[in-house]
Structures are given as C-alpha cells and as structure tokens.
C-alpha cells in the first residue's frame, strides 16, 4: 500500500505527461503525405493539430471521468449527455452575423472569450434540460438519462440544421454533426480554450480525492465529511465548462469521454486521484493518434477526414459492449439514488 502523497501525485502527473508527450511526438511525424521526421520549417504547423487534438481529447476524457463519477453511471459521456451538441450549437450561433452584431451592439465583445462563454452557456442549458427531465424526486434514472441525452442531441442538431439552412450556409454542417480538428482557428480562440481547460482541470484535480466519495449514497458521503451536493454541482459545472471550451473549437467529438476513463480504470483502478490524470493523458494521446491517422488516411491541403468519424467508428462498438455488460446490473438496480 502506497501513500498518496506529493511524490505519488508528481509521479502520476509526470507519467501522464510523458505518455502524452511520447505519443504527441510520434504524431508530429505524421503528415498528410506520410510518416517522416518533419523538416525544420514544418514543426509549427505539424504541432498545431497535435496540440489542438490533445487539448480537446484531454478535456473530453477528464469531463468523462467526472460525469461517470457524479452521475454514478459508467455510460455517461459529454457527448451522450447532450453537453457537446449544446455547446456546439451555441458556438455556432455566436458566429452568426445577427448574433455577433447584437453582441457588438451590447458591448459584450465578439472575441474568443465571448465564444467560450456562449459555448459554456449552451452546454449548461443542455445539461440542465437533460438532468431535469431524467430525474424523478432527486433520483437519476440511468437509462432515462441516456434517452433524454439522445433526444436533446437530436433537437440541438435539428435547430442547427434549421438555422444553417435558413441562413443558406451549410459549410459548418459536417463539423457540427461530427467534430474534427480544424487548423483555421485564431490564436485567441486556441488560447481561450486552453486556459479554460487548464483552469477547469486543476479545479477537478483539486477535488479528485473527494470525487471518490461521489459513488456513495448522500448520507454516507456526508458522514465522511463531504458536502456532496456542493461537490456534485462544482464537478458538473466545471466538467461542462471544459467540455464546452473543447467543443467550441472542435465540434462534438464522441466517445473519447466514454472510452478513455474506462481504459484508464483498467490500468490504475477506481481512485480518481490517479484516474483523472491518466485518463486525461489517454484522451490527449488517443485523440492525437486518431487525428494523425485520419489525416494519413484521407488528407490533403483542402480536405481531411474529421477525427470524429474515427472516434465514432471505434467508440460506438465499445459503447455497445459496455451497455451489454451493464444491462444486467442496471436491470437489477432499476435506478440510482
């Protein structure tokens, strides 16, 4: 038995960073024309998609760990809960001419921060709707939660398609339906997202020790000295914030937030103090690989395969396997309090 002291913390975070860095370096060598060490002039633009995909992957995987813990549901994922499409829709609305004119007129600014804010609001509205509709007397029903998430996703997509059709601008449609890493973002957009994700992640890490008690009943957690409602709300809001920040720059990328926490759990067990950093690193590494592979598969200067296609193709079967495994347990439990 090892103590979870400062040494263990540093070791875990260090290992996580090393894991990601190794993968990221490998991915930098992947260009649309093949795998080779980049020429000196290529480093900057080779790094950009790797950093971006890592940022998005890290945010989604960290949020996935948190949603699974606080909802006590192994199937929870920012995409399935409707958070991603909510943030995407709001992010899209922000880009519309009328909205940005309105925001400019109100003096609210049209910069990257206000886009982040919009995406965050969209994520929170979606998650609030999902939670309100799937709870009965304070109890969250796991299957209802997933169903409501699917419906909220569908409604968000419908609203998006309606608006984009009316405004005769269908260029954003593929990115909305399946997210991908874009390289046409401004420095401010990337920086705003990176800062929001970094701050959010540190808050989550701060409460990681107490997230272990989130699986307990309210009474048990409270009698272990944890203010469980405050913990759940803090975790929910911060996880939605980092999801929104990531989705604002990538569009909804599914299954990363579902798969990575489960893979990490296989390696380090259920202790969130280890689970959160390792899952974050896995998310960053996996999305960087997936993005590199999708660039390698169909890549040219004009077009590329959105990475969301690959994560959905790989993550979909994983989700079904997980659902199959949990079917019996959930049928027995009937619901969660």
């Amino acid at each position: 038995m090892k103590r979870w002291g400062i040494a263990q913390l540093l070791l875990t975070v260090g290992l996580s960073v090393a894991l990601w860095l190794a993968v990221a370096l490998g991915c930098v060598c992947v260009g649309s024309t093949g795998i080779h060490w980049p020429a000196p002039g290529q480093w900057a633009y080779r790094w950009e998609p790797v950093i971006l995909s890592s940022l998005v992957g890290a945010a989604l995987a960290a949020a996935g760990v948190v949603y699974q813990a606080i909802l006590r549901n192994p199937l929870a994922d920012p995409y399935l809960l409707g958070v991603s499409t909510g943030a995407s829709l709001a992010g899209y609305l922000w880009k519309l001419q009328t909205i940005s004119t309105l925001l400019g007129a109100l003096g609210l600014g049209t910069g990257a921060v206000s886009q982040q804010f919009f995406a965050f609001a969209g994520a929170l509205i979606s998650v609030a709707i999902v939670l309100a509709l799937s709870s009965r007397r304070g109890r969250l029903e796991p299957l209802t939660l997933l169903l409501v998430g699917v419906i909220v996703n569908a409604v968000n997509a419908a609203i998006f398609l309606l608006i984009s059709t009316i405004s005769r601008d269908l260029t954003a449609v593929p990115t909305f339906l399946i997210g991908g890493i874009q390289t046409n973002l401004s420095q401010q957009q990337i920086l705003a997202a990176a800062i929001a994700v970094a701050i959010g992640w540190m808050i989550l890490m701060w409460i990681a020790g107490h997230l272990n008690t989130a699986i307990l009943s309210e009474g048990e957690a409270q009698s272990l000295g944890v203010r469980i409602h405050r913990l759940r709300w803090t975790a929910m809001v911060v996880a939605s914030l980092i999801t929104a920040s990531a989705v604002a720059i990538s569009g909804p990328i599914g299954f990363v937030g579902l798969v990575c926490p489960h893979l990490a759990r296989l390696v380090v067990g259920s202790d969130h103090r280890r689970l959160l950093p390792i899952s974050t690193a896995l998310g960053a590494a996996l999305l960087a690989i997936a993005d590199a592979v999708s660039r390698l598969m169909i890549g040219s200067a004009q077009t590329w395969l959105p990475v969301g296609v690959l994560t959905a193709l790989l993550g979909g079967p994983f989700f079904l396997a997980l659902l199959w495994q949990n079917r019996r347990r959930m049928a027995l439990a009937g619901g969660m309090s």
Partner: protein
Amino acid sequence: MNLLSAEHLSFLYGNRQALNQVNLTLSAGEVVALIGPNGSGKSTLIKLLLGHLSGSGVIRWNDRPLRHWSHRELAKLVAYLPQSPQTDVDQRVVDVLRLGRAPYLGPIGLESERDLRIVQQVSRTLELDELLNRGIDELSGGQRQAVFIGRCLAQEPKAMLLDEPNTFLDIGHQLELFKLLHRLAKEQSMAVLVASHDLNLAASFADRLILLSQGRIVATGPAEQVLDPKILSQTYQIPIDRIDRPGKPPLVFPSFDR
C-alpha cells in the same frame, strides 16, 4: 458528560409523524440498541442525529449543537454505516478502507503518513490484511460488512451509528459483528448506537435497549426491563414469549402456532 444528547426530537414525513418527542443520550464505551418494528423510526432517528435529516428538537454532540459542527469535523467524531452501503464494481478492499480517511485528507486528496498507518491498523484489527487487494464484489457478506466497519473505524470516530448492520448476515456472522461492536465499545471507549431487528442479539450485547414504536420511545433501559412480553406484544402486534436465564439476558420469541 454525554457524548451525545438529544431532546424532544420530532420529524414529519409528509403528514406522518415519523418521530415524536424522542429523548436520547449516548456515552463513551456504551452500546445502545435501537429496536422496534419496521417504520417505527429507527433509521429516521439515526439520520436526524447525523444531520442527514432536519426535524425539530435539540441535538448536541460533545455538548455543542449539531448545527455548529461542520461536516468534516463531525465525520471525525461520528461514523455512520447505512443498511446497504454503496460501492463501485472496481473498488478494492483497500480503496474502501481509505475512504474512511476522507475527513482528514488535504487538498488534491493528499494523504499523510498517519492516514496510511491508521488504514493499516484497522486492517490488522479486523483481520483484513489478506483481502486488501481483492475486489469488494468478490467478498462474502460477512467480509464485506467487516470492510465497511473498517471504513468507519478509519475515521477514528468516538461514536458509531449503525443502521441494521446484520440484515444480510447469517447467524454466525451476526454474532461476530455484535461481539466486535461490543469489543470496540469496551476496549476503545467507543459509543455505539445500533439499530437491529434481532432482539436477542441486541439484548446480549447492548448495555441499554431503546424500543421505538410509531415514532415514540415506549421502553428504555436494560434488556430485562425492555424485553417485557406485554410491551413487545403490543408493539409488534403478535404474542411474544420470554424465557428468563439466570445471569444472562432473557430470550424473547414470537409464540406462534401453525
């Protein structure tokens, strides 16, 4: 000084009076058993004492009103074991025991040397050393309950409140559990309040019994006094017989014919 004193506790579930003017004290080193039929208010009383429910009346822990205790401070004084503790499929025994240190953890959940030492001590006391790395779902009912008691002990509490901890145990393990609670009370001066449906086990190991019926205390005191067939028959609404044994608490049982 009493570790716990509660006066005039009342609680309403909707229109139903779940507890009505209940008074209670608990001192270090004493085992008190809460008995009574289903729905008599045992769990409600325990939850009120912990602040999980709020009703009317005055509750003092260490002479300080309950509302003046922070969750964290109270968790260092009182441990609680509910009827069905929740676990995660991936949890190992050692993870469950470590959760007991939650009230002492620093930021980012950093543990001190002491945290680890206490977990090791608890594991030795309850003979869990061999099981530490086993999944909690792989254990038998008796072993699981020992682990949850271990989680409580890791809190280094002065009092333990247990809600029907023997529900899913066979008679051998029920006996073991009550022996353990008795030992903890006497050797470590722990105050133990345990709700139980087993009147005879409660009588054998508790210093005092409290019989609840429809939210009221109908009898309190030593087993000889509380396990009165007349009172019990009225409370449980079935005829109850009693056998007196010299030097031992009496045995009570339902007197039934087919």
